[in-house]
Each structure stands twice: as C-alpha cells, then as structure tokens.
C-alpha cells in the first residue's frame, strides 16, 4: 500500500515538472522564468525527500538540503538583479 502511494506521488511530482519547463521555455518575461525555475527546484527537493524514503537511505537528504539552499540564494540574487540592476 505504501509503495503504491509513493510510486503515485513520485509519478505525479514528475509530471508536475512539465508546466514548470513550459513556463521556463515560453515565459514572456525574466520574472516568469525565475519563478518557474524556483518552483522546479522545490519540486525536485520534495522528490529527493520521497526518494530518500523509498530507497531507505539518508544520503539523499544532504542533496535535498544543498539544492534547496542554492536555489534560494540564486532566486534572491536574480530578484535583486531584476530590481536594482546589480547583484552585490
């Protein structure tokens, strides 16, 4: 039962990436692409958390933590670039 639910969750989250990729390619402005990339990174973090439970290994959690922090800082950097024109 649990494995069916986890397989369904992983499949559903993998299909959730498709509209993010569509907005990333099609997006009219830079802000749309940034939001799509941030949403995609968060979905990948959740996929890694579920996959860590499926494979019964804690090592995927390190990957999820590092990816979450780098996506957060990258989003803030691009947001400041759009707002002010400089990053630092």
């Amino acid at each position: 039962m649990s494995s069916i639910l986890l397989s369904f969750a992983l499949t559903f989250m993998a299909f959730t990436l498709v509209p993010c990729i569509y907005r990333l390619i099609k997006g009219p402005t830079l802000s749309d692409r940034v939001v799509a990339l941030d949403a995609m990174a968060m979905v990948i973090v959740v996929i890694l958390g579920v996959y860590s439970y499926v494979r019964d290994s804690v090592f995927f959690m390190d990957v999820a933590l590092v990816l979450a922090i780098i996506a957060f800082v990258g989003t803030i950097a691009i947001a400041k670039y759009i707002d002010k024109g400089v990053v630092f």
Partner: protein
C-alpha cells in the same frame, strides 16, 4: 541594501549554512560531502550576506582578503600530498585512527581531512574572490 525581510532571513540562514558546510567538510572522507561542496556552501552563505546587506556595508564589519585563503588552501593540499612522500609512502597516501573523545564516543580521525580542508579553503577563496572583485566594479 535590500528589504528588511531579506536581511532578517539572511541573519538566520547564514549561520545555518556555515554549520552545514562544516558538517559536510568533516564527514567528507567516507560519506557524501567533502571539501568542494562544503566550500560551495560556505561561499553561498557569504554571498547571501553580500547580496542582502550590500557589498559596501558588509565590508565595514567583515572584510577578509579571500585570495590569501586560496593560496593557503593550495599550500595545505600540496603539503598533504608531499607529506606522505616524506614519510616514505606513495603520493597522497592516507591513514586513519580511532579516538575516544568525551561526549562524542569513538571518532574516526583520517589524515585525508587535511587535503579536504585545503580544497575547502581553495574553493571559498576562489569563489568569494571572484564575487568580490565582480561586485566592486
């Protein structure tokens, strides 16, 4: 300078990132992690500080010369390789032992940690030197 929300979040996130980078560095020789990703996490934390508080205001209370870190890390990583030749083994040969520490129990102490600390210092020195030089232009 950015908004108050970003600065408040940065004050919470930057120490956590630094602790995560040190944790990744110390577990690196037999678990996921290591000097490179630890250095990248440290550079991410300091660049978040630079982004949220601005480079000019950050330099008033925190202004190290990052190129010195690069050079010292390269020296340390080279010394870790040459030291095993001096001791009579192959290049970059490592050894490990077990220590009994109070409050931690048995801790594995490997000599590969010296090379990892060298890589860590090279990565933070190189990345933050580039960020600071690009930000000053």
């Amino acid at each position: 300078m950015t908004t108050l929300i970003t600065q408040t979040i940065a004050k919470v996130v930057v120490p956590l990132c630094v602790f995560l980078s040190i944790s990744l560095l110390l577990t690196g020789h037999d678990q996921p992690g290591g000097g490179f990703i630890g250095g990248v996490m440290f550079a991410t934390a300091i660049s978040l500080l630079y982004i949220s508080f601005g480079l000019d205001d950050s330099k008033k209370f925190f202004n190290p010369d990052w190129s010195l870190y690069f050079g010292f890390g390269l020296l340390l990583a080279t010394a870790a390789g040459i030291g095993s030749i001096i001791a009579g083994y192959n290049l970059l040969r490592t050894d490990y032992t077990y220590l009994q520490l109070p409050l931690f129990g048995e801790v594995e102490l490997s000599s590969a940690i010296v090379f990892d600390i060298g890589v860590y210092l090279v990565v933070i020195g190189g990345l933050l030197f580039i960020f600071k030089k690009m930000g000053e232009d």
